[in-house]
């Protein structure tokens, strides 16, 4: 029933600063997740250049047979993306909410060093709640 497979946050230079696995499908080891993160960072940048429309902000949704990849880029260049079951709704909302949690519990934490991996207890707790809520909403669907 895992609608979301995994969540990534990458900093503005393409380094993975947060990775979380949900459910059993599509689990990756650390090296793979790092590679995916930097690959996505480059693809996102290239897509902006290749886009036929002007003012393109990069890929927002990648649809594949077995998964959807939703991406949200903040104004400062930090990218949040989730890999989820095909056709999972409300992912934009969830990403925005995660961004909000990031600004609250990571950026306002004096012990967090910018651009470094996120290790904040409160962020983890609130993120788990947000994802849980999302699942409950899906179950009720």
């Amino acid at each position: 029933m895992a609608a979301i497979y995994s969540l990534y946050i990458i900093n503005k230079s393409g380094g993975l600063i947060f990775y979380k696995d949900y459910g059993s499908a599509g689990r990756m080891d650390t090296n793979d997740s790092l590679r995916l993160a930097s690959l996505w960072h480059s693809m996102h940048a290239i897509s902006q250049q290749l886009s036929p429309v002007s003012g393109c902000m990069g890929i927002e949704l990648l649809q594949a047979d077995t998964f959807d990849l939703h991406c949200f880029q903040s104004l400062t260049g930090t990218k949040f993306f989730v890999v989820c079951e095909p056709g999972t709704p409300h992912m934009e909302g969830l990403l925005k909410h995660i961004y909000e949690l990031y600004t609250d519990y990571v950026l306002k934490n004096p012990f967090y060093e910018m651009e470094m991996p996120i290790r904040c207890e409160l962020f983890d707790v609130n993120l788990a709640q947000a994802v849980q809520k999302d699942r409950v909403a899906l179950l009720g669907r």
């Binding site: 519990y105 306002k108 934490n109 004096p110 012990f111 207890e121 409160l122 962020f123 707790v125």
Partner: protein
């Protein structure tokens, strides 16, 4: 202890060299006549204010009334009017970022956690000193609590309300020691967005709030050692913060004497 701050709420408004008080404080603590000028000295908890006026001057009397009565006055000049209270709230995000910077700055200045705690406490102490002054004037009509329980409930309710918009969750007396009191808060405002890394052990940013409490108590004449601790609560994921207040011996002796 006295005389750290000299505030002159004043401007020279005529060529007699008269300093006019635009805020009411309290009755003059002492008055001295030197030559043809009268110097009045006003004390609040921590501040001295001098007023110099020409003896027998008509204006002098009206100033006395203004200070004593503290009633609403019609101001003809816009500059005389006191500042409006304005919005009572500040942005939580703004505060959180500022506090975060305060902690980060202090972190660069110290080598160990105990010292960081002490520095945060010192920063809070200065806030406490000012808060006591302000609240005694604004909320208590220039009166200051002189009894132990009075000052504790002042901290627990009045101070907390002005700082955090609510009264503290609880105020308790320590069970083991007579001189210990605890103010507990389920989620302290300063800790709302802060996760303490594992390697920092029992460090609590509530040290800043502990400093505020110490500042208030100390300047009110209740010297105490104040510290902030995380206390785990059953059934809750997050530990609550307890501000532990340990009063100095002299405070308890005085309290016992007063009965």
């Amino acid at each position: 202890m006295w005389g750290i701050y000299y505030i002159f709420y004043s401007y020279f408004y005529n060529n007699l060299g008269q300093i006019r008080l635009s805020k009411s404080l309290c009755n003059p603590s002492c008055t001295r006549m030197i030559d043809k000028y009268t110097i009045c000295l006003y004390f609040s908890t921590h501040t001295r204010i001098y007023k110099i006026a020409r003896t027998g001057n008509q204006n002098c009397k009206s100033i006395e009334q203004m200070i004593g009565a503290g009633k609403m006055k019609q101001y003809t000049n816009v500059l005389d009017r006191p500042l409006s209270k304005g919005k009572q709230e500040v942005s939580l995000s703004g505060f959180a970022f500022l506090f975060s910077e305060l902690v980060q700055y202090n972190q660069t200045q110290v080598d160990n956690i105990a010292e960081l705690e002490r520095r945060l406490e010192d920063a809070g102490y200065a806030v406490g000193t000012r808060i006591l002054e302000l609240l005694c004037h604004r909320e208590k009509g220039n009166r200051r609590e002189t009894r132990l329980l009075g000052i504790l409930s002042f901290v627990h309710s009045t101070v907390w309300k002005i700082l955090f918009g609510k009264v503290a969750d609880s105020l308790e007396k320590g069970t083991e020691h007579e001189d210990e009191y605890m103010i507990s808060e389920k989620e302290l405002l300063v800790n709302r967005f802060i996760s303490i890394p594992k390697d920092m052990g029992a460090f609590n940013c509530g040290a800043f709030v502990a400093g505020i409490v110490r500042g208030v108590l100390d300047n009110a004449g209740f010297p105490a050692v104040v510290s902030a601790h995380f206390v785990p609560v059953e059934g809750l994921q997050r530990p609550r913060t307890t501000i532990l207040i340990k009063f100095a011996e002299e405070v308890l002796q005085r309290e016992a004497r007063l009965g």
